[in-house]
């Protein structure tokens, strides 16, 4: 159910794990919204490329997840809205269907870590990052973003390191 209403995986995992550990409702909500706060700057980056009436911009914006956003990036701050919407719809259907399969058949799978599935996420993001860092400036910013996020991880709630890493693009512009 949460997959259908909150289309953003990491926030779901965070909220579910906090509730699963007996955490408070407020803590689960705060963590999930902090993780999703990255969609505010992401939305700004896409804004010039999403046009049309308000209802269409609103619906298209809901199809934005890390993966659909990154795959629609054409480099140098340009985005292809058709790829964004196509990938977003495909991901949404797969995400909800996959969650339903997992809820019914999850027990049969055992521990996903045995299959190395936890390594699929960094690999996916690395594959999305690779075409964007052919020049020195974005490469520097990516390394800086990763460093900032790692440095903050032990000291801040989950989600904050990712948002803080967006500061890297300000430093990259000055350089």
């Amino acid at each position: 159910m949460m997959s259908a209403t909150t289309f953003a995986g990491s926030a779901q995992f965070a909220a579910a794990s906090i509730l699963g550990d007996g955490g408070r409702v407020a803590a689960a909500v705060a963590a999930a919204l902090l993780l999703n706060a990255r969609y505010a700057p992401i939305g700004v980056s896409l804004a010039p490329w999403l046009d049309g009436p308000r209802w269409r911009r609103f619906l298209h914006a809901q199809l934005v997840v890390d993966e659909s956003w990154a795959i629609s990036a054409r480099g140098e701050g340009r985005y292809d809205p058709r790829i964004l919407v196509g990938a977003g719809l495909l991901l949404y259907v797969a995400w909800v269907a996959g969650t339903a399969v997992g809820a019914i058949g999850g027990q049969a799978l055992g521990d996903p870590a045995t299959l190395g599935l936890d390594a699929a996420f960094p690999a996916l993001f690395l594959a999305l990052l690779a075409p964007q860092v052919r020049r020195r400036k974005p490469l520097f910013v990516a390394l800086l973003g990763g460093t900032i996020a790692l440095a903050l991880t032990p000291f801040t709630p989950p989600g904050v390191p990712i948002i803080a890493a967006s500061v890297a693009c300000l430093l990259g512009v000055r350089r």
Binding site: S45, A73, G145
Partner: protein, 102 residues
């Protein structure tokens, strides 16, 4: 059980608002030149952070574990210009293999 649905509802609503904010307020208009320079570096910054935290983070701890084999395998696959699905599967396979052996 009701607290779970409260979280689902509030987070769902909040996420819809966050995602809509940029395109609704700024949609269809070009950004000023200065802002474009910043925005084009946003993708590398956030993706770099996601790679780092997904590879090394475990809650609030930083750990070196078998995921690094997966990330190395992904790097090699990308070097060979493998398609994205191959990169992801290679990472999962390398990590699973390392866990099975170690």
């Amino acid at each position: 059980m009701s607290s779970v649905w409260l979280v689902v509802g509030v987070v769902g609503l909040g996420t819809v608002v966050i995602k809509a904010a940029g395109p609704m307020l700024l949609g269809g208009r070009p950004l000023p030149a200065r802002a474009t320079g910043i925005v084009e570096l946003l993708a590398p910054a956030l993706l770099g952070a996601l790679v780092a935290t997904q590879a090394l983070g475990d809650g609030r701890a930083l750990v070196l574990d078998e995921r690094l084999f997966g990330l190395a395998a992904a790097g090699i696959a990308l070097w060979w210009k493998a398609p994205m699905l191959v990169v992801v599967v290679a990472a999962a396979a390398a990590t699973a293999l390392a866990r099975a052996v170690m």
